[in-house]
């Protein structure tokens, strides 16, 4: 790929290409077969019965099991009544009736004129259902022929998501593979991330000035990946803090984050061999309210004048409120967030900013444990796959739309069905 690529990288690239080719081949075959199957299943009959009744019922009612679900849905399609017209229609609405286990017909839905499909989502496996639909006029109702009884089926694997499963597995296996090789001692190169290199200095500065460090793990709860990333970084930062024996303060906007943060800080102090220096006061819950929290943190900043501020996690509007106040008290500031909208504010007002993916990589980077770094390498493989797919996809899309090359359209379709999972 690049002139600086060494032997190992090249071998890795070859393997990668081989892996990709095999996957694509498998998927193409699979998708092709599925497309054939889908085509044959489409109901194309549009025979309209020549009815002489005042109001024709809908025809060609087909009921089918909704695929890849937990036996909870049946799909109905029909051809609308010939009396269902856009203008001056005699037909007012359709009514859907359901017969459960050859019992009585029960009205389950009323649909406006023009409707030609319905999904019954109140079915259970173990029962037989048949349906009929009526055309309803001002004072009359005419039923269609009842459909064959059908039982909803439960599927154990969602084949719509099979490509997702495959890609997840490829990347999962790759990450695990790189973690393993790294564990076995293979040296991994990871580029410098300036914001993370600066952490030691930033902590050192606070120590020298005798002022505290402020760490904000975002304003979301522990069920947010950004917060989880923030807390893992807190662990790494705290280890340095414990070594320098600096004061750290972690105000949180969620109780759970406070609990997790205390756990994390305690562990860091233990690992650094200073368990006696830890105290629960290092992390305090303030309030769940976004701006109440900001008001309090701004107050803390102005009163305690931290020498260093970290903002790592999920941030919304408060990003600049925090960063500008931090700046006004002369703190060194290091930020990281995955919210693309807030990155610019941190970029402008902070000294260092981790952008998107860098936030999630930070903890691994800081740990400098080979197995953690290995996972970053796995991430890169994911990017390589994305890049390859985009390149092929763009070429195929261009070829098919600008020059109408058929096989390029096929490639594009295949790629799209892999990546568009819904």
């Amino acid at each position: 790929m690049v002139s600086t690529a060494n032997q190992g990288d090249r071998r890795c690239a070859t393997n990668l290409i081989r892996l990709l080719l095999v996957t694509f081949a498998v998927l193409l075959t699979f998708l092709h077969n599925r497309a054939l199957a889908d085509n044959s299943a489409v109901d194309t009959s549009s025979v309209v019965s020549a009815s002489i009744t005042p109001l024709a019922p809908p025809t060609s009612l087909v009921v089918s099991d909704h695929v890849y679900d937990n036996a909870e849905r049946l799909d109905l399609v029909w051809v609308p009544s010939i009396d269902d017209k856009l203008i001056a229609s005699k037909l007012i609405e359709y009514r859907v009736y359901r017969i459960t286990d050859s019992g009585d017909g029960q009205r389950i839905a009323v649909l406006p004129a023009g409707a030609n499909s319905f999904s019954d989502e109140n079915v259970e496996s173990g029962h037989q259902y048949s349906y009929y639909i009526t055309s309803v006029g001002a004072d009359s109702e005419f039923p269609s022929i009842s459909s064959e009884p059908i039982e909803p089926e439960r599927e154990w694997l969602n084949y719509h998501l099979i490509s997702l499963l495959l890609i997840c597995m490829i990347i999962g296996v790759a990450i695990t593979y790189f973690i393993e090789t790294a564990r076995r001692g293979k040296k991994l190169f990871i580029r410098r991330i300036a914001g993370l290199e600066a952490i030691d200095d930033a902590v050192g500065r606070a120590t020298e000035m005798g002022r505290p460090i402020l760490f904000i793990p975002g304003i979301q709860d522990m069920d947010d990946v950004g917060t989880v990333a923030g807390v893992t970084i807190l662990g790494r930062v705290c280890r340095v803090v414990a070594e320098f024996d600096t004061k750290i303060s972690v105000p949180t906007s969620r109780s759970l984050v406070m609990t997790a943060a205390r756990e994390t800080i305690k562990t860091a102090y233990q690992t650094a061999g200073r368990p006696d220096k830890y105290s629960d006061d290092m992390s305090n819950y303030i309030t769940d309210e976004q701006f109440g929290y900001v008001a309090a943190v701004n107050g803390i900043m102005v009163r305690e004048k931290p020498a260093t501020c970290f903002y790592m996690g999920t941030f919304y509007a408060e990003s600049l409120l925090l960063a500008e106040t931090g700046n006004s008290v002369g703190a060194i500031q290091i930020a990281g967030t995955s919210n693309p909208m807030q990155i610019p504010f941190f970029v402008v007002a902070c000294d260092f900013t981790l952008i998107g993916e860098e936030l999630f990589a930070a903890s691994a980077y800081l740990s400098s444990e080979p197995k953690q770094l290995g996972s970053l390498k796995g991430q890169d493989l994911g990017k390589a796959i994305a890049l390859t797919a985009i390149t092929i996809g763009v070429i195929a899309a261009t070829g098919s739309s600008a020059w109408h090359i058929g096989w390029m359209q096929d490639i594009l379709n295949a790629l799209e069905s892999i990546f568009l999972t819904r």
Partner: protein, 299 residues
């Protein structure tokens, strides 16, 4: 005409202030934050007292919203999800009011709801304003027949998903505790299939993106949206992919919308104030940079 002169003299006063700041900065005396703050107070509040119509051009995204709305025929049912709270109201409330006024004038049937706890009360506020309009008041519209407020339901995007099955499962009763089945407007409304358009006014999450992922992608719902200026760029990819039909972004989006629908409201008067404050921010950037470049050259 008078308005123009006042606006011009205002501009002159603020301009002189900015020149003074520039002078100080170039002299190497970076002014204190507080003066910047004070300057902003004047820039934002003074124009609020001025009555002048600023030149606005309706952008294609807003035009698309307008076309989507105007293509609805009388009696069409619109689901309006108010997913914002008072802090975002300056931007979104004018959109909501303008839309509600237009819709009620054109006999659209409105079903309000909210994924944010305070959304429905914003809807009520907007409705109160719209119903006070003389043309709408003359129509003698009734709650439950012409419009209804389903209230708030917690659960974020899961609410959107569940509504694909049935609205009633998420809103057994409306904001006024009337059971779903005894509201005439909702008679026959089972799920999205009976809805002609979903309007979403969104200030974040859950909001437009959740509506796209859970209602448009799954149930092929027709969706138009109004967003805060911050939120809007994230929706652009979806706008381009055709998943959302038109987008109003921020106060200028609201002002354009008011203009296009010919429903003059608060956004039209706020926009002047906004224009001045933007000008101020841009001038601060320029002043800061010019001064910085000049002092750097000296060194």
């Amino acid at each position: 005409m008078m308005g123009h002169y006042i606006a011009l003299s205002l501009l002159a006063v603020l301009g002189l202030g900015m020149i003074f700041i520039f002078y100080l900065t170039v002299k190497g005396r970076t002014i204190e934050r507080r003066f910047v703050f004070l300057y902003i107070v004047f820039t934002v509040s003074l124009p609020l007292f001025v009555k002048m119509k600023p030149p606005i051009q309706v952008s294609p995204e807003v035009q698309q919203v307008v076309e989507t709305i105007t293509s609805l025929s009388p009696g069409a049912k619109v689901l309006i999800s108010c997913d914002f709270d008072p802090p975002s109201a300056p931007e979104l409330q004018p959109m909501l009011v303008a839309f509600t006024k237009y819709a009620l004038k054109h006999d659209l049937k409105l079903i309000f709801m909210g994924l944010w706890p305070l959304g429905p009360s914003q809807a009520n506020r907007g409705l109160r304003l719209a119903l006070a309009d003389t043309i709408i008041a003359a129509k003698n519209l009734t709650y439950g027949v012409d419009y209804v407020n389903l209230g708030f339901q917690s659960g974020n995007e899961f609410v959107i998903q569940a509504m694909g099955g049935s609205f009633k499962s998420m809103f057994p009763q409306d904001d006024r505790r009337i059971p779903y089945d005894s509201i005439p407007l909702l008679n026959g409304v089972v799920n999205y299939r009976q809805i002609d358009l979903v309007m979403n006014f969104s200030a974040g999450k859950p909001g437009t993106i959740e509506w796209i992922q859970n209602a448009v992608d799954r149930y092929q719902v027709k969706l138009s949206a109004g967003n805060t200026a911050v939120q809007a760029p994230q929706v652009y990819p979806y706008l381009r992919a055709g998943q959302v039909r038109g987008l109003m972004g921020g106060m200028s989006g609201a002002a354009e919308f008011e203009l296009a629908l010919n429903e003059k409201g608060k956004a039209s008067s706020f926009i002047l104030s906004q224009m001045f404050s933007h000008l101020a921010v841009m001038l601060f950037v320029i002043v800061g940079n010019v001064a910085w470049l000049m002092t750097r050259k000296k060194k």
